[in-house]
């Protein structure tokens, strides 16, 4: 073994030839998300010239996509495991509202209160996710139906608790979380990237991640290989719940309040990011990085339409077209 690697070392080609080699081995089909990302970027740069490329615009796009992007990261795991979660939008509003209730019981001027509320949001979100997970695994309800149900439940609860209006935070430093910046980047963007890196490692380098892929690819194979299928299918819902909690924290702190109609259609944006990122809707295959690119791509397209002066009413249509195109690409790759 050692000898072999030594010989490899000695004949290691120069950097230039290895770059050429990398391009030779480059398979477009394996990097279609990346290629699409570059394409959209170039297109947006042209349409939105020169505003699009300005730092402020860029960070704005990133901030805009980070809320649903964070949820999309958890959703990636759910979809790879063969499930789906439609409840994330209402869950965000619900968790956000309850978090503010919790925060309001704490000392109003303390940063410790905010930190505690943050921890609370993530844990409470995880419990909401656990509820979905139990319905899907123990209750054996199809994920689509189970989370359609909880979507209604969470939305109804937040409307009830808020009296169909706003839940306001009385904390004076809470909004620092959502509006703050660190090294020039908004806090939500940092969270988006940090969670992405964590979940990327979880998916690719842990036993759990491997099992999620196996269960999503073929549940029977996983069962016959002594994989704990129920646990493996449940945990992605819990993780997604936690990401929902994070988004709920960031969103509610940005405006220092939650409205009962906040975060509607978040589930669609999150799922769209996953799909555009190349994750297979039938499960078994997908990447977290793809979802990051997918989320940013959606943001860039929106931004491009705004800068290009296209009616904001048409933005949803553009998003729809991109989703359909992404799925068509996937489908054609399979055949």
């Amino acid at each position: 073994m050692n000898e072999r690697s030594k010989t490899k070392e000695s004949v290691r080609p120069s950097i230039a030839t290895s770059v050429v080699g990398w391009f030779k081995n480059f398979k477009f089909s394996e990097h279609s998300t990346g290629m699409a990302f570059i394409l959209v970027f170039i297109l947006a740069s042209i349409v939105g010239w020169p505003t699009f490329l300005q730092t402020r615009n860029m960070t704005n796009i990133l901030r805009q996509v980070s809320y649903t992007g964070i949820i999309g990261l958890g959703m990636t795991l759910i979809i790879i495991s063969g499930g789906i979660d439609l409840s994330v939008g209402s869950m965000t509003a619900f968790v956000g509202g309850i978090t503010i209730f919790f925060l309001n019981t704490l000392p109003p001027n303390s940063h410790w209160s905010v930190l505690l509320a943050g921890v609370f949001a993530v844990i409470f979100g995880a419990f909401c996710g656990l509820f979905n997970g139990i319905l899907v695994t123990k209750g054996r309800i199809a994920p689509f139906i189970a989370t359609l149900g909880t979507m209604s439940i969470f939305r109804s609860l937040i409307q009830y608790f808020s009296g169909a209006g706003n839940i306001l935070s009385v904390n004076t430093v809470y909004s620092e979380v959502g509006t703050g910046r660190f090294l020039g980047l908004p806090v939500p963007v940092w969270m988006f990237f940090i969670i992405a890196i964590i979940l990327h490692v979880v998916l690719n380098n842990t036993r759990f991640g491997r099992y999620v892929c196996a269960v999503g690819a073929n549940e029977q194979v996983a069962r016959y290989s002594a994989v704990q299928v129920v646990k493996t299918r449940m945990i992605p819902y819990i993780i997604t719940g936690a990401t929902v909690g994070m988004t709920a924290l960031l969103w509610s702190s940005r405006l220092n309040s939650i409205n009962s109609s906040d975060c509607i259609y978040y589930e669609l944006d999150a799922i769209a990011a996953v799909v555009i990122g190349g994750t297979s809707m039938t499960g078994g295959k997908g990447t977290v990085i793809g979802t990051v690119l997918g989320a940013i791509m959606l943001g860039m397209i929106n931004n491009m339409l705004v800068l290009g002066g296209i009616s904001s009413y048409l933005q949803q249509a553009a998003k729809g077209l991109v989703i359909i195109a992404a799925v068509l690409l996937q489908y054609n790759k399979k055949n």
């Binding site: 036993r207 099992y211 892929c213 016959y224 290989s225």
Partner: protein, 511 residues
């Protein structure tokens, strides 16, 4: 060229060759079916029966060769064409929709309509009723399929075929799920159809049935046509011999006579559902134990029960003298058990996983370094298996989907070997793989046994059981019907225990 001579043949397969990704499953098969006869088609699993039928029905296309009807060539490109030509298939797994009624199923795809495009339900009901009555099976046509018994479903399936004026009826193992009485009724029906001029191809691996109902019998083995005989001139023994007989000394390594006396696994009175009834057996250290029997005899189900994949309703399992409770596959694996499923595609490999990912699926815990998978170790260990098993792979990173059956099986086997099992159950370990890979797997099972791992080989291939195993349990209808040892392991003995036709000289009965 011989068309004139073949005019009495309603259907003929001419030099049919079929290959699946390079593996030849049918080799130059020429069979002529006479008008109005019942032709038996018999052979072991993997002999090519199903493939041949599917070619006749247009579901598969032959790699080489052609089909002829009434002496002239026909092209059957899909099942719809076959139906139009009067060929109908009664599949083993019924093709009926449970939530629709009997008549709706019978007319599915051929609905009768009144002017304007609405369904003519009245006439469909009437015709369905008439058809069922003609067969002596007055089933209420308004019942849903889910309310019918298995035998009734079969009659609906047959009536459905006959509604289309089928001249040739192909029945794929129709008796597997029927009781003795129902089989009698079915045979009466077949005779009646024969009188009405319907030609029947009857696929089975039950000798007795072939001899009872058929005029002639075609024997297939390993994709080759062995013989076509008049049933009146042949007996069950001859058919069995033709089904099996091959020079199998070449393929199998020399049998190991010595096996330890320590019992590593003792299963007593194990029952689970309807498929495992009061099964008891013993496995000794380092032995290769065989489980023979027909498809559906409960061998797979027994193995799955031992592995914790099915609930134990009764009975006990003892490992190396210690009674154990196995509720999940995880329990089984941690106790040193392994089970290579017969369904490689559906329950074995992950198609989109590459070689290392597939091999380490169960033993992944061994590759963790602070919660993270040590991918270098994974790759190194997998490379060793690739060398050891002679797995032909263009790249370690390629999905298993693109591998041949034999290479997939070796990867699957490597996964279990990597769990370091004490006992390995191999269910149809050589199904659907070519002869060379088969031989390699046999050698490998041997080396496993030599290294002290006790193996159970479940196989429907007679010579596999005979060539590999020092002892053989035979199962039928969920129960163990015999245990054979040494010289008593022979085709006849196994066949008789498996089919229930007992030889009086036999002593190896457990019951």
């Amino acid at each position: 060229m011989k068309e004139n001579r073949n005019e009495s043949l309603i259907l003929q397969t001419r030099n049919i060759v079929k290959e699946f990704s390079g593996v030849r499953v049918l080799n130059d098969v020429t069979v002529g079916i006479r008008r109005g006869e019942i032709m038996g088609l018999i052979g072991e699993n993997g002999a090519g029966k199903s493939t041949l039928i599917k070619i006749i029905c247009g579901i598969y296309h032959p790699t080489l060769g052609s089909l002829a009807m009434n002496g002239s060539d026909v092209e059957i490109n899909d099942y719809i064409t076959a139906k139009r030509l009067g060929i109908a298939l009664v599949p083993q797994e019924f093709n009926l929709i449970n939530t629709l009624t009997v008549y709706e199923n019978m007319f599915l795809g051929n609905e009768m309509v009144v002017k304007g495009g609405l369904l003519d339900k009245r006439q469909m009901r009437e015709r369905a009723m008439v058809q069922l009555e003609e067969l002596g099976m007055p089933i209420d046509v308004n019942l849903r399929i889910s309310e019918l018994s298995v035998a009734e479903k079969q009659h609906v399936e047959i009536s459905k075929a006959l509604l289309l004026d089928a001249g040739i009826l192909i029945m794929d193992e129709p008796t597997t799920t029927l009781t003795g009485h129902e089989i009698k009724t079915l045979f009466a029906l077949m005779r009646q159809l024969k009188e009405q001029g319907v030609t029947i191809i009857f696929v089975s691996h039950k000798l007795q049935e072939i001899v009872t109902i058929c005029d002639r019998v075609t024997v297939l083995r390993d994709g080759n046509l062995i013989t076509i005989d008049e049933v009146s001139q042949i007996n069950e023994h001859d058919i069995a011999r033709k089904m099996i007989g091959r020079d199998f000394q070449q393929v199998f390594p020399a049998k190991k006579i010595r096996s330890g006396d320590d019992v590593v696994l003792k299963v007593e009175h194990l029952s689970s559902g309807k498929m495992v009834k009061d099964v008891s057996f013993e496995l000794r250290k380092g032995e290769i134990l065989g489980f023979a029997g027909l498809v559906g005899s409960g061998r797979t189900e027994t193995a799955e029960t031992v592995m914790g994949l099915r609930p134990v309703s009764h009975g006990s399992i003892t490992l190396a003298g210690k009674p154990v409770t196995i509720k999940t596959p995880r329990d089984a694996v941690s106790l040193g058990l392994g089970y290579l499923s017969e369904d490689r595609q559906g329950k074995g490999i992950v198609q989109d996983f590459d070689i290392p990912q597939n091999i380490t699926l169960i033993s992944l815990g061994e590759y963790l370094k602070r919660f993270l998978i040590d991918k270098r170790k994974e790759l190194e260990k997998s490379s060793r298996y690739v060398d050891k098993f002679n797995i032909v792979a263009a790249s370690m990173r390629m999905g298993l989907r693109y591998f041949s059956g034999g290479n997939q099986q070796k990867v699957y086997l490597a996964r279990w070997v990597d769990t370091d099992p004490q006992i390995l159950i191999l269910d149809e370990p050589t199904r659907g793989i070519d002869v060379n890979a088969k031989r390699e797997i046999y050698d490998f099972i041997h080396s496993l046994a030599e290294s002290g791992i006790s193996c159970i080989v479940i196989s429907s291939e007679m010579e596999e059981v005979m060539g590999l195993c020092s002892r053989v349990y035979v199962m039928r209808e969920g129960a163990v019907t015999g245990c054979l040892e040494g010289d008593r392991i022979s085709e006849e003995q196994i066949m008789f225990h498996a089919t229930g036709i007992h030889d009086t000289e036999l002593l190896g009965r457990d019951s």
